[in-house]
Symmetry: D2
């Protein structure tokens, strides 16, 4: 944990940013929020003083169509409004920084760092993502996960977080992955694994199929081969890996579950961002604070 007392502005965002602001204050930092809605007396009406902040934290994602992503604020704010209040060389942490945002920050000499791109946050975010997937499966299936047959497509961070949770609930879990390294990881966790070829030939026995591969893996052939009553959950980011049109025509139930951390556990998601922001501050500010 960052040990020095810092001034940190938390600007825009949803309940994750609220949780982040509170957690920073609980750690003893001086915190100001803007465009975050009423937040324990931390909210400011203007950006006056933001140029003194050791760090400014923008939300995840930072912008939506040129506007600051600020669903809890009463009005719109442009990114330019925020950036123009900052000083050159100031440290700004933001989530999912696109090329446009990075360019604008660069023009103003702002040190913009993307916390969402960091490995440690990705590893931690797999936890609430996996919990959200478990919650959806519990809600949607008329059988217990205990004894249910589950197929995971892909075995990256989310798969590796989800598999032990499903097993802990008594599900029987299989993995399909192209990479022999991912399959070795599956085997090391005690899971049977297969390659991705000829998927349609053997996925007829699963009660739940969870896709984590951001590529079209479940097409009409695979969907048609599935068991009556199967639940398909797609955790892959847009455009996902499931042919939705085919699924609708075939009557296969598909749940597309995105951005689970912020939805199912905003307080925890905010704390994970906090930890990552601390790492960035330590790296960027070092002994300067």
């Amino acid at each position: 944990m960052l040990q020095e007392h810092c001034l940190i502005w938390v600007v825009g965002g949803d309940h994750r940013q609220v949780a982040l602001a509170r957690a920073l204050a609980d750690d003893g930092h001086e915190v100001r929020t803007f465009a975050l809605g009423p937040c324990q007396g931390l909210e400011r009406e203007t950006l006056a003083g933001i140029e003194d902040a050791h760090c400014v934290v923008l939300p995840l994602p930072a912008e939506e169509q040129g506007q600051l992503n600020a669903p809890l604020a009463g009005q719109y704010h442009s990114i330019e409004e925020i950036f123009s209040a900052l000083r050159p060389g100031q440290l700004v942490c933001a989530g999912q920084v696109g090329a446009g945002l990075a360019a604008r920050a660069g023009q103003r000499g702002i040190v913009l760092r993307d916390y969402f791109g960091r490995e440690e946050l990705a590893v931690l975010n797999a936890i609430p993502t996996a919990e959200g997937a478990v919650q959806i499966a519990l809600e949607e299936l008329p059988i217990t996960l205990h004894g249910a047959r589950v197929l995971l497509l892909g075995f990256g961070r989310v798969g590796r977080a989800l598999a032990p949770r499903l097993k802990g609930l008594g599900a029987k879990v299989w993995v399909a992955a192209r990479s022999c390294i991912q399959r070795a990881h599956a085997e090391s966790m005690g899971l049977e694994s297969e390659g991705m070829e000829r998927l349609a030939e053997w996925l007829c026995s699963y009660d739940l199929v969870v896709n984590t591969i951001p590529a079209p893996v479940l097409g009409v052939e695979e969907l048609a081969a599935m068991k009556q009553g199967v639940l398909v959950m797609d955790l892959a980011s847009r455009p996902g890996g499931v042919d939705r049109t085919a699924a609708k025509a075939l009557g296969v139930r598909v749940v597309w579950a995105l951005s689970l951390p912020g939805r199912v556990a905003p307080v925890t998601a905010g704390r994970y961002i906090q930890q990552t922001v601390y790492h960035i501050m330590e790296e960027e500010l070092g002994g300067k604070v």
Copy 2:
């Protein structure tokens, strides 16, 4: 599994009975249903022929205020209507058989067995109960169960099914129980445990408190000592173990979760009843089938 081909009537009940009827038919038995609603062509309009059944399965609970418990049927049926169609000596399996029902069956010479009172069903039903409790916790808490501090009050069947599932999701689980045998079970599962005395002194640090003790254990003193934002889940049967009036006054959120197996996993719950009915049929009918 019962190996012989039997005639079994499934009478009344909810989706568990539907799942039971289907599962019996899948095993090759001849199945008739009554007062269960349209069910894959198994439903009969009258009780004619029920006296030939090797076994008649009534729902869980079998009756509600003298009526057959039949929420999926279009009309009411009295228990007498069912019983009068049976023959003396006929085997009837029912759930939660009260003294009144048992007496009426006895008068007609019906062999009435309560599947809900059997240990093997109680052990199995703890599984969907635990999954339901996990689901509620995932839905209600703004933090992940991963890292959450959970206190289980009592450590019987449900506690022993719930604890490893919570741990599998990364929660930190403690147990409070009066009995040193229950506490030894907790220790053998790697859980810290405490007695029930002075509960109010140390339950301030938990994010989730799950009660399974059917006695008033969480009164105003204990509720007042809890952490801000705690979730209390009461799994104990009526009247439960939580002082609801005090909780309301104190603003402590309490979820009273009853009959979880039928609600969260009716198909699995029906299959567990099926297994138990098979055991009863083997014991009662033996070589007679």
Copy 3:
């Protein structure tokens, strides 16, 4: 934990009794040992003063052929020598108390309690027993337990402690048990289970077979059906459940593992006895201390 300061004599026994004596002293009790060998200055050369003890703890088992079980002592002591030094009404805790010992204690008015017969100790002792079984399997098998196929015969306390440990190491575990309640427990832990009939027909695929049933379950027919290279571990108390003569003739490797807690984890085993002795003292002495 017993809160008052007591005088406790620890008499005879092996390293469990040593660990017990030390743990009692660590808790602040006044401890004397006799026939236990040099033990941190606690050892006494005579029994003088033992009549003042709040409790005297004899080993597990307490006697061997009329002698005090005292492998660490330099000489033999008869049980009579110990008993004659005690006062009527004095509390003595001992392990595996036979009818003869109980009768002699009764004649002298000694309050003799068997800690080994208590459920909480049996539950706790299943832990080091299971660890010992895991250790033997790791030592004896040329394959990893990860991926090994293991069959547990019987599913009582030891089976229920062993199964999750084997699964935690990645083994694939099956259970065979006669009782449908034990099989329901197996299913609730996510294990496939079978009855005990026709065992010989299907045990050919296991790498490790662990028996916990104190009855002849593995005879020549079952042993002959096993896989080449199988390891059979017998945890059942004498005479065990394996036909050793047949096993030898057939070349099936059998390990008979008894009294594992004291052998593999004497310090922990001593602490479990300590906890159980505390429970007995609370029940027997109550407010008298």
Copy 4:
């Protein structure tokens, strides 16, 4: 699995190579062994015909001081003897290929591939390494792993395989690692973690310390701070991470456990090499077989 029927020579090595040869033959391949000792009729007295092999598998490590590593053979063989019998372009798989061996293979136009350097084998080998570490801990500690306090230094592949196994046995596991990504992995597995600074200040409470960092991390200061009776296990490759001289002087028990897969589970280790050799053959030979 490689589907075509191949001719494979297995040359030199220990029981892992024996298991590999058998497993290849079980898969239907034509197998010859050399310098492996009597092996089910597969052993050849000369290298005649080896030039026809689709693949030649050398042991792990392939050579020891210029000689073929062949502890089961009756005599010494130089690497040159083997290499001179091969044809240019022939595929050879070997373990721990040093620069010298690679150079000599290159001179002869041999396609030498190091299976030990492949990620999938490293992931799989972490399993028997973890089991071996568990076995040593069970053998050496007088307490159960259940309830023991264990500190893992470093959290790479071996740490991630070992931690869930220790937890599955009931140990309380902490992680110390420099990298915030490794610490995020630890947190995602439900483990508390710390940085490596000021280690000496807080490692006094552990019963078992397992080092996996190949750097001097446990010096005199850290060793002196440890609990009386602690067991230190060093799994890091030479020169390990423990100051052995200091440990000896301080009376701290250190077990240096190297090459565990081949020692504790040679058959499984051989099968893992088999899988990896298949992957290499598929990549190198592709449609050519």
